[in-house]
């Protein structure tokens, strides 16, 4: 366990930024957003960033290949990226937990090399949540915001920031910046952890449980007539999917640049009417089906295929951002999720 005084935190940042790029949440007029640290940049005190941290490994758009055309000749040029090491500071437990879910998708065979490279080069420093918000329900999915995970975990206690490596990568990073840190005891942060857990208990969604859904048959859930009412006012926008740390669907598109074709991938949303549209048409024609797909995927299909792991980490972004305030919590409750006593 190491520590640094909060008023000297820039020394730590400086030390990290000396060898690689450092990203951390910064206050902007669009809430907290990850920005590259440079001298003078201060870290946001917000609980979480507007957009999730998945952007680091899975950016919204990414070039895959290019087809150069000259007259009738076509040349295929695969996308070659140069990857550099980087550090993300201030990731919360929920987002850190989301990486494991993304890994299951992108790192299983066939491995998504773009994702794998970015994942490999990134070091995550997480930060425990001292002031959780009402929209938080990470505990429902077994995430403990007092033990935030990542390559390095950090806790803030008063004017001190405590850091502890969780992985080899984290170990290496902390060693490299050891000059900016001083030794500390693990017990020092126990009160912080305890306080966080107390706060988590008080949250309005603390007792949310999926037990009631787990007990139901998949097809019963699928054919439930409750979906109609739930999806009735859904606008079909992609806000929930785009701010979600675990949504990982993308579309591959070609863009005619006039000199050739740029093939790229970009985030897609199962809420969109043209999602997975094929030559024959669309498989999910109504917004109800699309809506159902999103939640069935997160709460039923994904755990079915992934040892019971839900594809939701309870970060609460969709609760805050949905234009009509329909969200996974309301879905869980309506579909039979119980209040855990």
């Amino acid at each position: 366990m190491l520590k640094v005084s909060v008023d000297k935190i820039n020394d730590l940042f400086r030390a990290i930024a000396a060898t690689q790029k450092l990203y951390l949440p910064v206050d902007t007029n669009a809430g907290a957003q990850y920005r590259e640290w440079s001298e003078g940049v201060t870290m946001s005190q917000a609980l979480n960033t507007n957009r999730s941290a998945k952007d680091f490994f899975f950016p919204q758009t990414e070039n895959l290949a290019e087809f150069k055309m000259e007259g009738k000749k076509i040349e295929v040029k695969p996308q070659v990226n140069e990857y550099e090491d980087y550090v993300v500071f201030g990731v919360r437990a929920c987002d850190a937990a989301s990486f494991a879910i993304l890994d299951r998708v992108f790192l299983s065979e066939p491995v998504d090399t773009f994702y794998a490279h970015r994942r490999e080069h990134g070091t995550i420093i997480t930060l425990a949540c001292n002031r959780p918000a009402e929209t938080c329900f990470c505990t429902t999915f077994g995430v403990d915001p007092a033990v935030p995970g990542g390559d390095v975990s950090a806790w803030q206690k008063g004017e001190e920031l405590y850091l502890e490596a969780q992985t080899e990568k984290g170990e290496k990073l902390l060693q490299a910046v050891a000059g900016a840190l001083s030794q500390a005891e693990s017990e020092d942060i126990e009160p912080v952890k305890a306080a966080i857990r107390v706060m988590m208990e008080k949250l309005p969604l603390a007792k949310l449980s999926l037990k009631g859904i787990e007990d139901q048959k998949m097809l019963d859930l699928f054919y439930s007539d409750k979906w109609n009412a739930l999806s009735e006012s859904c606008l079909g926008c992609g806000t929930c999917t785009f701010v979600c740390p675990t949504c990982q669907c993308y579309d591959v598109r070609d863009f005619d640049t006039g000199n050739g074709i740029q093939r790229f991938r970009c985030w897609d949303s199962c809420m969109y009417s043209d999602f997975t549209k094929m030559a024959h048409g669309n498989i999910r024609n109504s917004q109800m089906e699309r809506f159902r797909q999103r939640f069935m995927h997160k709460l039923v299909y994904f755990p079915e295929n992934n040892e019971g792991i839900y594809s939701c980490v309870g970060c609460g972004r969709c609760l805050a951002k949905c234009p009509i305030h329909m969200n996974i919590v309301k879905v869980i409750k309506t579909m039979g999720g119980t209040e855990n006593e």
Binding site: M69, G71, S286
Partner: protein
């Protein structure tokens, strides 16, 4: 993938001198889809065209690009060439490398480069061309003429002469219009009735012409070649086919104090009436607002005296639906109301009259039997003042901003007739400008001044005040820089004319455009003066703008010629480059309909299939290809991109943009 052929024309040295045609052909040959590329001295020549046709056949070309002069020159030529070789004419695109390249650029390298880019743009476009077939729509061989004045009469006669059926719809009980009210005509001074009434008789006797008098057009649907009009035949309470026009009823009718509109209300008529002796059809009409029988069921005299038994108090308005290939608007004019012109004392003294009233006062068939008498005391006037431009050329909002065109001449006519018939009268004409452009017009006016001694005074009347049975006319004499005070017996106002009040609603019905003065707009002010921009609608007479009789008649005949030109066709070939609405994307918002200048877009509620065997009703637009002229206004108004223009589709234009900016 298209198989495209590129043909680069030298145009002798016109292109070849500044553009390296060989290089253009070589470069364009490298473009995707181009399977054949060549250049030749004169592509438009017989042998050039032959070359194109052979290439089309030999290389199975699906599209061709001609790099040559402006498409305005030879697009039609090359389209025919392609068609002759079995290729759809609309699979041809022209790259304009003469007018817009070789002729304006001196540097050969630059010009060649530009020619290549223009060629690429044309290739990009032709890639997206689709074969288009000009649609055909049948033509109903019958014309509708709205208005039975001299304009309508002449148009109808000319159309009927060519062997086509014509219907005249006239809202008054008789045809004849304003000309029937006029006494003499300028500049020849022959009597209007003498030249008009024979024409009216011709109309009545012409088998091809049907007159719907006392009728109005209720609605018009359809489009060029195929209009459906509903005509409302107002109840005249007299059986038209039975009435002999003997006029006995009009003599016996006890209701004798109905103002006579034919005589501009200067005298009275009976409740059952025939407007004038030569009326066509010569059939009596009962005025429902005046007839005692119709109002309170007490009277029935006309019915009793009618030996033919033509009176039918129970008659109802009748609606007739009829199809037409063309519609001619001949709605004519009226004199404006003089409510805004108190200074001329029109409402204060009966001796202040409009020129149309004056016509009636001078007319042998008029209220005074042709003797000029003052309406107030029926005495002979000795001093007459004519005021020109009353309400014309007025931008103050009281009158009309335009020149009414006919007043100068008829005022000269009136003045001259007065002096001729009554040499003891003094006649003053106050004018701003005297406008006499027309055959024998200026001579006519000068005769009034020189031979008849009419006092033409440049200036305007500022005030007319009735005083002791006289009219005190205060006016300026600009040339003498003086103010005059004339003691007149009568004042005649050359009142501005305006389109008939029915014109606006008819224009709406026909989706024909109008100007701010409610005159119909012509398709082109110089080159298509008798057509409305709306296909199949033609304009005759004053409804299009102020005109005198000779002009009206020439325009009427011109409109007839245009109508005949349309009706002789069995089918209309439509420009295939028209807008097309994709019903699947249309949301029925009406934006396109609002910007369409031709009324080519209509809406209907349609049932659409939705998933799981459900359906939904949606309002969608459809374009009538026979009416659409292909301007494309709707394509941009449409936010969803449901509306596209064939031949100039969004994708085609964007492909051109891409090729040019590459």
């Amino acid at each position: 993938m298209q198989r495209i052929g590129v043909f680069v024309c030298w145009c002798g040295s016109n292109i070849a001198a500044t553009v390296d045609v060989q290089q253009v052909a070589d470069e364009l040959a490298k473009e995707p889809g181009v399977v054949y590329s060549t250049n030749y001295q004169y592509m438009c020549s017989q042998s050039g065209q032959q070359m194109i046709q052979e290439a089309i056949k030999e290389h199975h070309l699906t599209g061709i690009v001609i790099c040559s002069c402006s498409p305005r020159m030879h697009e039609a030529t090359f389209r025919k060439t392609a068609a002759a070789a079995g290729l759809n004419s609309y699979m041809v695109e022209i790259a304009n490398i003469r007018e817009q390249c070789s002729w304006i650029h001196k540097n050969k390298e630059e010009a060649t480069e530009k020619a290549i880019i223009l060629g690429r743009a044309a290739i990009a476009k032709v890639h997206l061309n689709a074969p288009l077939t000009a649609g055909e729509s049948p033509v109903v061989k019958r014309a509708l003429v709205i208005g039975g004045g001299i304009a309508g009469i002449q148009t109808a006669l000319d159309i009927a002469d060519a062997g086509f059926e014509v219907d005249i719809v006239e809202k008054k009980p008789t045809i004849g219009g304003k000309m029937a009210q006029i006494d003499k005509t300028f500049p020849t001074l022959d009597c209007a009735a003498c030249i008009l009434t024979p024409k009216m008789v011709d109309v009545a006797q012409n088998e091809k012409i049907h007159i719907y008098s006392y009728s109005e057009v209720e609605s018009v649907k359809g489009f060029v070649g195929n209009f459906t009009a509903t005509i409302k035949k107002k109840a005249r309470y007299v059986k038209e086919d039975v009435c002999t026009g003997c006029g006995l009823c009009t003599e016996k009718c006890p209701m004798k104090k109905v103002p006579n509109e034919f005589n501009q209300m200067l005298d009275n008529r009976t409740a059952i009436y025939i407007p004038f002796a030569q009326a066509v059809p010569k059939v009596a009409t009962i005025d429902p607002n005046a007839c005692m029988m119709l109002k309170n069921g007490k009277c029935g005299v006309c019915s009793k005296v009618c030996t033919a038994g033509a009176i039918d108090y129970t008659q109802k308005d009748e609606y007739i639906e009829q199809q037409y290939g063309a519609i001619v608007v001949a709605t004519g004019f009226n004199t404006i109301k003089l409510d805004n012109f108190d200074e001329f004392a029109y409402s204060q003294s009966p001796d202040v009259v409009t020129s149309l009233e004056f016509e009636r006062l001078m007319n042998a068939a008029g209220p005074t039997g042709g003797t000029l008498l003052r309406p107030s005391d029926h005495t002979h006037p000795h001093t007459l003042v004519f005021v020109q431009c009353v309400g014309s050329r007025d931008i103050s909002g009281c009158g009309k901003p335009y020149c009414s065109k006919i007043c100068c001449m008829y005022t000269a006519k009136h003045a001259m007739l007065c002096r001729e018939k009554y040499p003891d009268t003094e006649v003053y004409v106050f004018y701003i400008d005297v406008r006499t452009p027309g055959k024998n017009f200026d001579e006519f006016y000068r005769r009034a001044v020189e031979e008849y001694g009419v006092h033409y005074i440049k200036g305007m009347v500022g005030k007319v005040a009735p005083k002791d049975g006289k009219l005190m006319v205060q006016a300026s004499d600009l040339l003498a820089n003086d103010q005059l005070l004339i003691e007149a017996d009568m004042v005649v106002l050359a009142t501005a004319i305006e389109p008939d009040e029915s014109a606006r609603s008819i224009a709406t019905m026909l989706t024909a455009s109008m100007d701010t003065n409610d005159f119909f707009t012509e398709a082109h002010p110089k080159l298509r003066p008798v057509e409305s921009p709306t296909a199949g609608i033609f304009l005759s007479g004053v409804c299009q703008g102020p005109k005198d009789i000779p002009e009206t008649v020439s325009q009427a005949s011109a409109a007839a010629a245009k109508v005949i030109g349309l009706l002789v066709k069995d089918k209309l070939t439509c420009n295939p480059c028209v807008a097309e609405s994709n019903e699947l994307m249309c949301n029925g918002c009406s934006a396109c309909e609002k910007v369409c200048p031709y009324g080519a877009i209509t809406y209907s509620d349609k049932e659409f299939r939705t998933p799981y065997r459900t359906t939904i009703m949606r309002r969608v637009a459809s374009v009538n290809p026979a009416v659409c002229q292909g301007c494309g206004a709707c394509t941009v108004a449409c936010p969803s991109g449901a509306m596209d223009l064939k031949g100039f589709s969004t994708r085609q234009i964007m492909a051109e943009v891409d090729a040019i900016c590459k």
